[in-house]
Symmetry: C2
Subunit: 205 residues, 2 copies
Amino acid sequence: MRANRKKALRNQLIRDDILDAALHLYTRDGYFNTSIHDIQREAGVSIGSIYNNFGGKEAVAKALYGQLVGHMENVVDAIASKHATAHNRCRAVVEVLFDMTERETETVGFILNAKHKEFLPDEPPICSSQPFVKLRDMIQAGIDAGQMRPMDPWVAAACTFGPALRMIQLRLDGMIAAPLPDYLDELWLHSWRTVGVDPVPEDLR
Amino acid sequence: MRANRKKALRNQLIRDDILDAALHLYTRDGYFNTSIHDIQREAGVSIGSIYNNFGGKEAVAKALYGQLVGHMENVVDAIASKHATAHNRCRAVVEVLFDMTERETETVGFILNAKHKEFLPDEPPICSSQPFVKLRDMIQAGIDAGQMRPMDPWVAAACTFGPALRMIQLRLDGMIAAPLPDYLDELWLHSWRTVGVDPVPEDLR
DNA sequence: GTTCTTGATATGAACATTCATTATAAACTA
DNA sequence: TAGTTTATAATGAATGTTCATATCAAGAAC
C-alpha cells in the first residue's frame, strides 16, 4: 500500500516532468518545432516513458491542454464565487490574467496564444471550452442584472476582455516592457466605461 | 520586349497560383500541416516551379507574408490619406478589417491569426511590421491632437482595436454567425467611448 | 535473512515513415 | 538556342513509434 503510493508518486513526478518540459518547449519553439526527442531530453526521461505515460506526441499536447484548461477553469470558478457583481468579477478576471501573464507566462501563452486547432484537430476550439463559456455566462448575467449595458453578448465580451487580451498578446510578443499589472487600473477604467452601467468604484481607480 | 512582358506575365501567374494555394492551405491546415506537395497539387504546378520561383518551403511562406503585409500597408495608407481625424481613421480601420474578414477571410486569418514566429523565425514580429507601426502612429497623433484621451499609447491601441480584433478572432473561429459589419456601429460606439474625447458623430451611430 | 518470482515501469537503439529537396528528361516557349 | 515547366523518381535527414531488454519494488518460499 505504502509502496503503491510511493510508486504512484514517482509516476506522477515523471508525468509532471514531461508536461513541464512540453509546456516550456511548446511556448518557446511551438508544437511542430518540438520533437519527442526534445521533450525527452528536456524532461530528463526516456522516450519510452513518454509513450508509456501518454501514448504519443499528440497525446502529450492533449494532456497538457486538458490540465491547463482545467487550471483556468478553477481560476474562473474561484473568481465567480469570491465576487458578486459583474464589475468586480470581470475586473478580477483581468487582474488575474495580468498576474498570470507575469508569473505563469508559459501557461498563458499556451492557452491564449497557441493554435490548438493545428495540432489538436479533435479538440473543440478554446473559445468553447469551459472557462471561456463561463466568462461569457458571467457577462450575460451582468447584462441581465442591469449592471452592464444591454448589448450583444459577443460585443460585450469583446469590449470587456478584448483590450486586456490584446495587452497580454503584446506583452507576450515583447512589445510592452513593463509588467501588465502596472496598466491594470488605467486599462480597466477605460474598458469598463465601455460596457458598465455604473462607473468604476473610487477605490479601484 | 513585348515577349519579355508576356513571359513575365506568365511567370507572375504561376507565382500567384502558388501563393494563392499556399494561403489557402496555410489558413485551413496551418503551415506545418501543409507540405510542398500539397501546395503543388493545389496550385496545379510542378514541384520544380515552386523551387525555381521561390527556393523552398519557408521561402514561399516568406513571400506570401511579405505580399500580405504590403497589402495591409497599402490599406492603412489609403485610410490615413482619406481621413483626417483620429476618430474617422480608426473607425475606417475597423470597418475595413471587418469587411476584409468577410471578403478576404484567408488574408486576415494569415496576417492576424498565424503564428509567424514559429515558421518565419527571422522575421520581426507582426506587431512591429509597417502597417501595425502606422496604426500606432495614427493613435499617437490622435492623442497629440487632443482628439483622444491622454493615455499610455499601448493602452490606447489596445482599447481602440482590441475589441475589434477580438471580434475578428471569434468570427474566424466560427463562434460568431453573423457577418462582422453587422456589429460595426454598436462595437465602435462602445470602443470609441473608451478612448475618444468627443463622442461618435451622430451620422455614424 | 536470503533467494526467487512477479508485475509494473523505464530504457534507448532500431525501425518505419514522412517530407523537403534534388535530379532528370521530355515538352514547351520565346 | 536558351530558359522554363512538367512529371516522375530518387535521396536522405528528421522524427514519431516500437519493442526487446533492463530495472526495481514487493512479496513468496525456504
